[in-house]
């Protein structure tokens, strides 16, 4: 069965990662249909209920309720929206910014490269968590600002890794050959260099999605992410932490969900790295 799939898909990791990401994606997209309750609906009678299968649980609140009586399962499903939005848009944005600069720096070299390199150095002397926090202070809360903050912080990660690869490819003779037959700089980059670095780019995007989920969770944990009315996993963790002795389950579920999302993206990224890496060096030393 596995032979039917295209080569880049033929990996347990890629499939597993895709499945996990797909599940979370589906939750995000179809949240209103999947969630049993309104995530913000408070039930002050039944607060801090444990999951349905334990003693004291209620079947209508499958995973229990939080301190304000809101259904944990629904909040998790709706929380997937924030997580996926951030994951997709922030990583794509960071990729665009970082990749464009990386191509320019790696291809043209010289002063342009030095300038961009210095900028990356300055950026990376700041711990990303701290920087994103400060940016949120400056920008104010909201989903759009979270995405923007992550883009501004994480583009350096893309830039640095990609630049090294671009420099290797740009030195190859076939790039010079393209210039020799009259390709413009733009054409050379898009037709010769970008395809060569595409596998790395895809892998990095996948890994970046996992990182974006983590950063968003951290920001919502300290209350500097989306507004309080939007369910977010990090926020759920922060709330649950205060009632850790009363209902430890409230803490475990969002922790597990965050972990699962990151794990899915990491598996996907790692699997793609292996399947897309066509660096076949057939050196037979006979």
């Amino acid at each position: 069965m596995i032979r039917v799939l295209p080569p880049w898909l033929r990996s347990g990791r890629v499939l597993a990662g895709l499945v996990i990401v797909a599940i979370i994606g589906l939750c995000a997209v179809f949240a209103p249909y999947l969630a049993p309750h309104d995530p913000n609906e408070q039930n002050l009678v039944s607060t801090l209920l444990p999951p349905a299968w334990t003693e004291g649980g209620d079947v209508s609140f499958l995973l229990g309720t939080d301190s304000l009586g809101r259904d944990v399962l629904s909040r998790l499903i709706y929380g997937a929206r924030v997580a996926m939005m951030v994951a997709v848009f922030a990583s794509l944005g960071a990729m665009l910014l970082g990749a464009v600069l990386a191509y320019i720096a790696g291809y043209f070299g010289g002063r342009v490269d030095a300038l961009i390199g210095r900028a990356v150095d300055v950026w990376m002397s700041f711990p990303p968590v701290v920087l994103s926090l400060i940016l949120m202070v400056g920008l104010g809360v909201g989903l759009r600002n979270v995405i923007l903050a992550i883009i501004v912080v994480d583009w350096t990660r893309f830039c640095r890794v990609l630049r090294a690869e671009v420099m290797v490819v740009a030195r190859k003779d076939y790039v010079s050959a393209a210039r020799l037959v009259g390709f413009s700089h733009w054409r050379t980059i898009t037709r010769e260099i970008v395809p060569a670095t595409l596998p790395l780019l895809i892998t990095l995007v996948s890994l970046e999605m996992g990182i974006a989920v983590i950063v968003e969770a951290i920001l919502s944990f300290v209350g500097m992410s989306v507004s309080a009315t939007t369910p977010a996993w990090g926020q759920m963790v922060a709330d649950a932490r205060q009632y850790i002795y009363d209902n430890p389950w409230n803490l475990m579920f969002p922790i597990f969900t965050i972990f699962l999302a990151v794990f899915g993206f990491n598996m996907l990224g790692d699997g793609l790295r292996r399947t897309l890496d066509v660096r076949v060096t057939a050196t037979q030393r006979v």
Binding site: K172, D173, Y174, S176, A177, A178, R179, L180, V181, G182, F183, R187, E192, P195, A196, V278, V280, A282, Q284, R285, V286
Partner: protein, 626 residues
């Protein structure tokens, strides 16, 4: 009593590949007496390096000795326990590798690495080891050994690293030395010195040597006996001079005839068709492995592997048609005499290129790669530029096609001065000059099909749809001798020689007047090289273009080029018609360069310039006095 140091009896090594076991080495039989040198000659893929690995029993995973014996000094190497064998390595059996620069640990000093080696040899205490190390380095003629001990490998040149490795190999006075292409990665003049050094050390210590090389002429000079390998099976084995002067096996003879000679014998190159079968192709051949390419092949050859036929003085050949070998001759040269030269196409005056090295924030040093070069290239003319690494020849090539801008001087192509580097000049340059790159691996985009690569010039001008491009590609491919099916393949499906042809086809797409070929046959097998050189000559006849041929290989330049420029450290030290320059070199550097090539006649005495420090110091003195 002269005991045989290394004896191979019907040794066979096979590899477990995906679709079955394949013989990598078969029927290997030789005996190496004490103090003698055995040359293992073959093209790449013939299995010569595998023998070195077999002696050390460090075969790649999946490879194993399948039958036969390998006896070292009476001990069975193959069945010996690993610990015993490890005791022998580095002590009684030593190795000299192909790539000296990467053979030393980059984060340890030379002194530390020698000290480690000597400690293993149980040479006394630290002080004694240091004294011994200094002796060792002096014995290989390295200047200022005390300073050298504190240096790191990246501070040394390739030649110096190789001397250190040779010193370490001989430190234990080994009984057997295996030198695996020890000079292939080095410059020509350094090659000669290193080979001489090995011969000298070998004489002093009485070591038996297995000298692995692809150069038959070199082996004939320094080895006592030669074994020629083809696809893992010995083709010929006998005394060195004998094998060279009177080869019995057709392959040996063809190999000789594929090598251009330094004296310009007036013959063409014998180009064996296709190439030596690789591991996976070996399974399909029942008869003689060389049969498909052999000029003397008959029906009997294809039925079974030919047995070894002995002639007098122990000269063995695996062929049933040995009597036809002396008759195999190279084709005559089609263009006899100097070609008719046309207009001057390219004129270079005062060409200079200086690179800026920003080593730190404040210091900025300049490096002059090319200094004041002048020459004129006429239509139909092939000019060769020879020199060693650092001579600036590649930089000159890149300036010709516009990949590097000129720092000073003028470059006139087809009557128009293109030195300003403007857009119009660049376009003019591109239309007249095209480059064929050296490394086929990095010169072809692995993601493009061959047709797309070859017609890339059409893509730049959006000229023609895919159908037209495919047609044009097929036409170009047939011109350079590839079948039209190759057009839809990817580079990874082609061999090295085929890739290089695609390279040439790409350059020919815009029909330039001038081709610049930068080391395009280096690193290719002799037979493939011969094919390409003949192709270039044929193309010249058909298309009448000129070529600037950059190479470090003097014999190739002798064969191909009408005029030659000799470059040293960025300057042209000598120039003129090839035959004249080679026959009667004026400049001391040219003389050194030519003397470094082993002579065509193995009975002639080979004397590269005497060693007094590195070649650079000698020549610098000469240049200063000239």
């Amino acid at each position: 009593m002269s005991m045989d140091m290394l004896i191979a009896k019907d040794l066979a090594v096979s590899a477990a590949l995906a679709d079955g076991t394949v013989p990598v080495i078969q029927e290997l039989n030789f005996s190496l007496p004490q103090g003698k040198i055995l040359g293992l000659v073959g093209e790449s893929g013939a299995g010569k390096s595998m023998i070195g690995r077999t002696v050390a029993q460090l075969l790649p995973p999946g490879f194993a000795v399948s039958s036969g014996e390998l006896m070292f000094n009476g001990q069975d190497l193959v069945r010996m326990p690993a610990e015993t064998r490890r005791e022998l390595l580095g002590r009684e059996i030593a190795f000299v590798p192909q790539e000296p620069l990467s053979g030393l640990n980059p984060v340890l000093t030379i002194g530390q690495q020698i000290d480690e080696h000597l400690a293993r040899l149980n040479v006394g205490n630290r002080r004694e080891r240091r004294a011994r190390a200094l002796d060792m380095l002096a014995a290989v003629h390295l200047p200022r050994p005390a300073d050298l001990l504190g240096k790191y490998p990246h501070q040394l040149s390739g030649g110096m690293c190789q001397r250190v490795l040779i010193a370490m190999a001989f430190a234990s006075r080994p009984k057997l030395l295996i030198a695996d292409e020890p000079t292939t990665a080095l410059d020509v003049t350094i090659q000669a010195r290193i080979v001489q050094l090995i011969a000298e050390m070998q004489r002093n210590e009485g070591t038996s040597v297995i000298f692995i090389t692809h150069d038959l002429r070199l082996a004939a000079q320094i080895c006592d006996s030669i074994m020629v390998l083809y696809a893992g099976r010995p083709a010929e084995y006998g005394p060195a001079r004998e094998v060279f002067a009177r080869p019995a096996h057709p392959y040996t003879r063809c190999l000789q005839l594929s090598n251009p000679s330094m004296s310009g014998s007036g013959r063409g190159l014998y180009a064996l068709p296709e190439r030596m079968p690789g591991l996976s192709a070996l399974k399909g051949i029942n008869g003689c492995l060389f049969g498909p390419r052999c000029p003397s092949v008959v029906e009997a050859c294809n039925r079974r592997q030919p047995p070894y036929v002995a002639s007098e003085n122990g000269h063995l050949a695996a062929c049933v048609r040995c009597e036809t070998t002396p008759a195999i001759a190279a084709p005559a040269l089609v263009d006899v005499g100097a070609p008719v030269l046309g207009e001057p196409l390219l004129k270079v005056e005062g060409l200079t290129k200086t690179f800026r090295i920003d080593s730190s924030f404040f210091r900025r040093s300049d490096f002059t790669a090319v200094k004041d070069v002048n020459f004129t290239l006429h239509q139909n003319e092939f000019i060769g530029i020879v020199g060693e690494s650092g001579s600036g020849k590649s930089t000159v090539a890149r300036m010709m096609c516009g990949l590097e801008k000129l720092t000073a001087g003028s470059l006139t192509i087809a009557g128009r001065d293109v030195s300003d580097g403007s857009k119009a000049s660049q376009a003019h340059q591109r239309a007249h000059v095209q480059m064929v790159f050296q490394d086929p691996q990095s010169a072809l985009n692995p993601r493009r099909k061959v047709a797309s690569i070859v017609t890339q010039a059409m893509e730049a001008t959006n000229d023609g749809d895919w159908g037209e491009r495919l047609a044009r590609a097929e036409a170009l491919l047939s011109e350079i001798g590839l079948p039209p099916e190759a057009a839809t393949r990817f580079p990874s499906q082609l061999s090295g020689g085929q890739k290089q042809r695609v390279n040439i086809a790409r350059a020919l797409c815009v029909a330039p007047n001038i081709l610049v070929a930068d080391e395009i046959v280096s690193g290719l097998d002799v037979s493939v090289q011969a094919q390409l050189l003949n192709l270039l000559l044929r193309l010249r006849r058909e298309r009448h273009f000129s070529m600037l041929f950059i190479s470090h290989d003097l014999s190739v330049v002798r064969y191909l080029c009408d005029r030659v420029l000799v470059m040293y450290r960025g300057e042209v030290v000598e120039s003129g018609p090839t035959a004249e320059v080679f026959a009667d070199p004026r400049h001391p550097y040219t003389r050194t360069l030519l003397a470094a090539v082993p002579p065509d006649d193995p009975s002639a005495i080979w004397k590269p310039q005497p060693v007094e420090g590195e070649s650079a110091a000698v020549c610098e003195a000469m240049v200063a006095n000239a």
